[in-house]
């Protein structure tokens, strides 16, 4: 840590870049760079009626959108997008907008404490299951856990954000020889990221995430990819979609969506093809075959086994439709096919993903405008660290159950809520003697923890996010505190570092050498150091402090050039697929399609305004609904406002029916995001959680096949009004309730 610079010099540095943007650099009162100054020179954030803007990074999901937060007198007032950040170019999604209600959420955990498992109380009190302790004691606890247990008895479970913590913990685990941290996130699970990555590596032989150039494609076939909602980087993809439609060199883009239930993305499609869940792979292969034929190309081995009639039958769409669609795809100057969550969450998911990539190869768009690229690797990232697949989580749970793990550290994820109950994560936690949660909110996983050491909220934190996909440039989004910590919380990174530095026990010695960083910021600086040399960034600096200042001022660092790489087009088309139908679980009458609520996602339920933001397709607020086709409802004698129970072999869930016109009659859909048992007054005991119904089947890439369940539906005889923004009278007619 070099000579501290005064806040004034700091602003001078900042003003250099300030010409381009009104964003002031700064760190809020939490900054370690602020040296005390007399009150005659008050810091600008204390001036009456004057707003200060701080650039940081959104942590509502792992996309790493840049934010600029307007603050006034030490309060965060409004979240705005960072115009310069290549990921979102100044735009934000609803979740990003409402992140302030997380910061000022009344249900945040306000102090570190010892917690009795299962007790839904989070502050000291008579008969409360929570005993507040000092941060010193907290750090001691962490230090003990790290030093007294054997390295292989220690496990870290982290979320998909922030990356700097993941990197730090990785260093820590390597230092003490503990197993590498596992990261998990429901979004990753519902996107089946691993499947896509594995498909890419098997087809292209390169690691990393493929990126799809939607903006310049003429025709996009999206197989279950809800890229306007929660898939990878929604804001960036929405921007791309706008370009695809109205500012497209290839003319107004034509979007075809293949899915059993019309998602928000599907609602924007020009053609929505309701294929039966499980038939995705067959459909892709059939279309591939037809495209090859209509382009008069020699039929590549990849599509040799495709049977159009069988596919049409399996998908329950007329084969004529497939022919027509294939024609559309074949004639298009720039055709692009995207494999997405639902399609990959089948036993044939990997095959489907590979087939889609093959389809792109067939029309030769690999590495071309409007085609498929490999996403650039983020700066200072050794590789893209994907969230754990279902298989990895199952292995991890197995490890927990075996009792080998003595101390488990959990940060930034809520597997008890997000993982299918069938996997038994909660039961596994019971086998772990010591569970330490760093959660800022009283979520289901923290409920099972022995210690809760709340981390700062994202807007109170330092950090960075290595952007996985969404921008053409290589982007490292930087976080800085925009306000002083609202409660008695501590940065997890600092806690770990402090614990590591306690000269205690065997691990202690190694650690303090291995992790010689004085604190979180010092660690981040040390990581940024490697970028000083890199001239390709849109700013550079002679020495690290200035660089860090710019980094904070601009909310990150990114390259000016397009860093996407064309995937090697080797023998992509020479692989063969057997085009088999997917294996299904359960004996119910209906296919079950769980989907992530575009508004709440996995962690939005505790923010009242997100609860009141209507779902784009159903306009439902504040609760869970079960989507059922009106004909089916008619047949089963189910009315609006009826509460029904959906039952799978694994479990059941109850919610109010929404007669959804755009879903297959043989399919039932349910949003994921509600159904919390704890997690604050706005989320608690509200709605139902579809993951309770899911099974444990994995696809070839090891991802959960959440689309493979067949479920039963039972009437409960109860009714409950669903909060809809729409007036059902006007939208569904006078007899609608």
């Amino acid at each position: 840590m070099s000579e501290p610079i005064s806040r004034r010099d700091f602003l001078k540095l900042a003003s250099a870049g300030a010409a381009t943007t009104a964003v002031l650099t700064g760190c809020g009162p939490a900054s370690r760079y602020v040296t005390r100054e007399p009150y005659t020179k008050m810091p600008e954030y204390t001036y009456n009626g004057q707003s200060t803007f701080y650039a940081t990074t959104c942590r509502e999901c792992s996309a790493g959108c840049g934010l600029v937060v307007r603050t006034m007198q030490g309060r965060a007032i409004k979240v705005e997008g960072n115009k310069n950040n290549p990921v979102n170019l100044g735009k934000t999604c609803a979740r990003g907008q409402v992140t302030l209600q997380g910061l000022y959420n009344p249900d945040r955990i306000q102090n570190p404490g010892k917690h009795t498992r299962g007790a839904n109380s989070w502050s000291s009190g008579q008969g409360s299951g929570f005993q507040e302790i000092t941060w010193i004691d907290a750090i001691n606890e962490v230090s003990n856990a790290l030093s007294t247990n054997e390295p292989d008895e220690i496990a870290f479970l982290l979320g998909m954000a922030p990356d700097h913590l993941f990197d730090l913990v990785s260093e820590l685990t390597t230092a003490i020889g503990a197993p590498a941290p596992i990261r998990f996130g429901a979004l990753g699970m519902f996107e089946a990221r691993k499947t896509l990555m594995q498909a890419a590596s098997r087809m292209f032989g390169t690691r990393g995430l493929p990126s799809f150039d939607i903006g310049e494609a003429g025709v996009v076939f999206s197989f279950g990819a809800n890229f306007l909602e929660t898939w990878f980087s929604p804001v960036a993809q929405t921007r791309e979609f706008a370009k695809f439609r109205q500012r497209n060199p290839a003319g107004r883009g034509h979007l075809v969506q293949f899915e059993a239930r019309m998602s928000q993305t599907g609602s924007k499609a020009d053609e929505w093809i309701a294929i039966r869940p499980g038939s995705e792979a067959q459909v892709v292969l059939a279309i591939g075959r037809l495209v090859a034929e209509s382009r008069g190309l020699p039929l590549p081995p990849a599509f040799a086994n495709a049977d159009v009639e069988a596919a049409a039958a399996a998908a329950d769409v007329p084969s004529g439709t497939l022919v027509h669609l294939a024609g559309v795809f074949a004639q298009a100057a720039r055709a692009l096919a995207i494999p997405g969550g639902a399609a990959l969450a089948q036993s044939t998911g990997l095959e489907a993903a590979e087939a889609v990539l093959a389809l792109n190869a067939l029309v030769g768009n690999l590495g071309k405008a409007g085609g498929v690229f490999m996403a650039p690797l983020a700066p200072i990232a050794d590789a893209y660290h994907a969230p754990a697949s279902g298989r990895e989580m199952m292995e991890f749970i197995g490890k927990l159950n075996s009792g080998k793990i003595k101390a488990l550290f959990i940060h930034g994820t809520n597997p008890v809520f997000e993982l299918p109950r069938a996997l038994g994560f909660m039961e596994a936690l019971a086998q772990v003697p010591q569970v330490i949660s760093f959660s800022s909110f009283p979520d289901e996983t923290a409920l099972q923890a022995d210690y809760v050491f709340p981390d700062h909220h994202g807007l109170e934190s330092w950090g960075y996010q290595q952007v996985a996909t969404g921008a053409n440039a290589a982007v490292l989004s930087g976080s800085q505190p925009v306000v002083a910590p609202f409660y008695n919380t501590q940065s997890t990174a600092d806690v770990l570092l402090a614990a590591a530095h306690l000269p205690r026990g065997r691990a202690g010695g190694q650690l303090s050498q291995a992790l010689s960083y004085s604190d979180e910021l010092a660690y981040i600086q040390s990581k940024l150091g490697s970028l000083l040399a890199d001239g390709s960034g849109f700013f550079s600096a002679p020495e690290i402090d200035t660089f860090t200042a710019y980094f904070q001022q601009h909310g990150g660092w990114w390259t000016m050039d397009d860093r996407r790489v064309a995937p090697p087009t080797a023998d992509v088309l020479n692989r063969t697929f057997e085009a088999a139908p997917a294996a299904l679980d359960g004996d119910g009458e209906f296919h079950f399609v769980p989907f992530v609520s575009p508004i709440l996602a996995e962690a939005g339920a505790n923010k009242p305004w997100l609860q009141e933001v209507p779902d784009p397709t159903t306009t439902v607020m504040w609760n869970t609904w079960i989507e059922i086709n009106p004909e089916t409802a008619e047949r089963l004698g189910i009315q609006d406002q009826d509460v029904v129970r959906v039952v799978s072999p694994m479990g059941s869930a109850e919610a109010t029916v929404y007669k959804y016109p755009a879903i297959r009659p043989d399919t039932i859909a349910m949003p994921f995001g509600q159904g919390h048992t704890v997690y604050g007054q706005f989320a608690e005991k509200r709605g139902a959680n579809p993951t309770d119904l899911l099974g444990t089947r994995l696809n070839a890439a090891g991802d959960l096949t959440f689309g493979s369940m067949k479920i039963r539906i039972e009437k409960t005889g109860r009714t409950r009004e669903l909060a809809r923004l729409e007036g059902a009278l006007g939208v569904y007619g006078f007899d609608a309730k």
Partner: protein
Amino acid sequence: MSTELELPMFTNTSEEDLGGRWGMVIDQDICTGCQACVAACAMENNIPYVGEKDAAYGRSLHWIRIERFWQDAFPEVKMTPYQPMLCQQCHKAPCEPVCPVFASVHSASEDINLQVYNRCVGTRYCSNNCPYQARTFNWRDYTDTRRQPELTTLQNQLNPDVTVRRRGVMEKCTFCIQRIRHSEDAAKADNRPVEDGETLPACAQACPADAIVFGRIDDPESRVSQAARSARGYHQLEELGTLPRVTYLKGETDGHRG
């Protein structure tokens, strides 16, 4: 306006071609209904949430809502293009003359429709007379920390530039006039005209698809004016002659296919 008042106005001086000062264009073809505008609006304008019960009863206070309808039935079912609906800032606003206490008045300088909260007595005539149903009413005290203690922390984020409304008051979209004013002051400070795109309402600022364009429509060169001239442009309920300030670009389905 003031000049118009020099001589008594016994007749209507508003001309069809009288251009407004601020205007908006919403492209329904690229609006993905993601609700970012809705959330941004709520965060910027201190709009309280009303809770599940009232929301279910049509009392939510969204200043901007995204409408959509269905056509045909499965499998041909199609969703009509998402249609963000907000106060159209009519030049001839039906809500204005009916207010008995001048709580709904026309701003001469911005040529938008203002709601004077402290003057409003809550007759709700304006909302009845608004063809766009763009006005929302504070049915209860949704911002009272005595009634809702949980608000005490949440209210740290209240925007000091926007009044917090109490029960019995009508409210509606203001085109984020606090931002317009701010940029006008800033421009005046270093005496220059307000640049195009310098001031954006929260919705336009957030919109990931950039489907909402905002700016001066009395400046033919501004981005919004150019967008408004699009062949796809239309006004909501044009036939009523309310002269809305919001132009919609209809969601087109491309020519050669479906």
